[in-house]
């Protein structure tokens, strides 16, 4: 079965697929999130009791409607926000602030417009290794710019780049500091479908190569199925007959498709449509009350 502990009623929809790709080991997680909750109004937490783990080298996507608290969870993991209750641990240490150990790719690319591509990435590299000399920084920067195929544009300002190129620079910047974990906040949300596909492929290639641990927010079901080893499904907080029920983790879906999948052949794989339908059904009928 590809749904773990919190399997709910509709898991039976999908026939089990042979050879599960990723062994799920909930206790030995590299990243552990325990009983996380965030409340802006004390009696109405946006989400509560969110617990999950991510193993080293695992790619995990989180899907849910707007307002369910995905970005808050990511910001807590990044150290940019604090949870009302609960704890997060990475590599055995509690997360209580931003750290170079976790690279973040922001939805709005967040490049500094007064710096060139090279300077933007060098800024991150200098932060990571303050003792490095300029030539060493340059070599390192060029290596990661080459990784996302932007060497011809390395000395351009962000305003001279297309949306896709800017997002590539954001990804290169996050990879350049060689973090233990990567946090991506809907990195392709603002891109057109074609560009999105290309960069997804690139990201997948780099992640496979570097065995990077990744936590990513997305709204795109296909993107999640393509990239993720596991997909976390989140519900929104809602008023029910029994009173307010906070949002939270409804289900953890393990991706049964082989890890060698590519975007081109994804929809020909056995189990793809079952998986896709399952997630879409969740988003349409269960994730939100209205």
């Amino acid at each position: 079965m590809w749904s773990d502990a919190s399997v709910r009623e509709s898991a039976a929809l999908v026939a089990p697929v042979s050879a599960p790709i990723q062994k799920v080991s909930p206790m030995s997680g590299f990243l552990k999130v325990e009983q996380l909750a965030k409340a802006y109004q004390a009696n109405k937490p946006v989400f509560a009791d969110v617990s999950f783990t991510i193993d080293k080298g695992e790619f995990v996507c989180i899907i849910g409607h707007s307002g369910c608290g995905k970005t808050t969870i990511l910001n807590v993991l990044a150290g940019l926000d604090t949870a009302t209750s609960g704890n997060c641990f990475m590599d055995g240490r509690e997360i209580n602030g931003p750290s170079l150990e976790r690279g973040v790719v922001f939805q709005s690319h967040a490049l500094m417009p007064w710096l060139t591509v090279r300077q933007n990435i060098a800024f991150a590299v200098k932060s990571r290794w303050p003792e490095w000399k300029t030539p060493q920084i340059n070599v390192h920067v060029e290596k990661f710019v080459a990784l996302v195929g932007l060497l011809p544009a390395i000395d351009k300002k962000p305003s001279q780049l297309s949306g896709g190129m800017k997002q590539r620079v954001g990804i290169a910047r996050a990879f350049a500091i060689q973090p233990k974990m990567l946090l991506l906040d809907e990195p392709f949300g603002a891109l057109d479908a074609l560009t999105r596909g290309t960069i997804q492929d690139e990201l997948m290639g780099i992640v496979r190569e570097t065995h990077q641990t990744v936590f990513m927010i997305t709204h795109d079901v296909d993107e999640a199925i393509l990239l993720a080893d596991r997909i976390l499904l989140m519900t929104n907080g809602q008023e029910t007959d029994q009173g307010y029920r906070p949002g939270g983790m409804a289900e953890v879906v393990v991706n049964p498709l082989p890890r060698s999948r590519t975007r081109a052949q994804l929809h020909h794989l056995d189990g793809y449509y079952d998986l896709r339908n399952h997630i879409v059904d969740f988003l349409v009928s269960r994730a939100k009350a209205h």
Partner: protein, 287 residues
């Protein structure tokens, strides 16, 4: 072709306006002369008229000098700008240097206070609220109103002039710096946080460049005001500077020199503004 011709056409129109203006000026100033002729006067009367400063023999124009005379005087001033013949007779270059020196010094002092304070106010909502009433009350005060207090406490006219420049330049810089710093995009600060950038580096490499266009706008406004105020301040305190020069020439009843000085003040003000426009261009970024 189209763009070039627009500039060209604008230049032609500018030239036309200039020629019309000079022409009108010339016409207006070539009226009948005040002195009149010496015809019908006795020698005693002529002698008396000369003693009264009304030489009937001399070709005296009307009170207001024509453009040619101003041009001649301008040339004379500009060809020997740095002579020094005592306290009341210095070259225009020296006067200008005094004014620019005061403006520069007052402006630098204002920068030294306004930029750090603006950073503090911009970074901290508490400080913003705490400082706001003071800024709102002090900002609309005419800088010259400080002059008596400055003269009394500082006991030096030169230092008082600098103080007046300081007090008038500080507000636009302070307000714009605070505004620019407060408006730095959250995402850039988040990037700096996730990269564990220390506060000093964050201030100089993230917040400063992000807020620089707004800060430069404030500095440009400040410089404009400072140049307006220095002329008035120097008229009050006297001694040196273009403001004093204007007042001194008014006391000499030399309107020619006053007109020359007025034009010079305009040109120098324009150059100062252009300088800041260039600086502004250098720090502006496209998002």
């Amino acid at each position: 072709m189209k763009a070039v011709s627009l500039n060209l056409r604008a230049a032609v129109v500018s030239l036309l306006i200039f020629v019309c203006f000079i022409g009108a000026w010339q016409l207006a100033t070539t009226g009948p002369s005040i002195g009149g002729s010496s015809a019908g006067m006795t020698a005693d009367e002529i002698e008396y008229a000369k003693m009264m400063g009304k030489d009937p023999g001399a070709e005296k124009s009307s009170g207001f000098p024509p453009p040619v005379e101003v041009a001649k005087a301008s040339w004379a001033h500009l060809s020997d700008p740095f002579y020094d013949k005592g306290p009341n007779d210095k070259g225009i270059g020296i006067q200008l240097a005094h004014s620019l020196g005061r403006v520069g010094l007052g402006f630098l002092l204002a920068m030294a206070v306004a930029l750090p304070l603006g950073f503090l106010i911009g970074m901290s909502p508490l400080m913003q609220k705490a400082f706001n009433p003071f800024v709102q009350v002090l900002k609309p005060i005419s800088p010259l109103a400080w002059m008596p207090l400055a003269l009394y406490t500082l006991k030096d006219s030169d230092v008082s002039g600098i103080f007046v420049i300081f007090i008038c330049s500080i507000w636009p810089m302070l307000i714009n710096t605070a505004f620019g710093v407060a408006g730095v995009k959250r995402e850039w600060l988040n990037v700096a946080s996730t990269l564990e950038v220390n506060p000093i580096r964050k201030a100089f490499q993230v917040i400063l460049p992000a807020a620089a266009p707004t800060i430069l706008t404030g500095m440009r406004i400040s410089m404009g005001i400072a140049w307006l105020v220095i002329v008035a301040a120097e008229m009050l305190v006297g001694g040196t500077g273009v403001g004093y020069f204007v007042w001194n020439e008014w006391n000499n009843l030399s309107l020619t020199n006053v007109i020359f000085a007025v034009l010079l003040i305009g040109v120098v003000g324009m150059l100062l503004d252009l300088m800041f426009a260039q600086l502004q261009k250098a720090v502006t970024y496209v998002e």
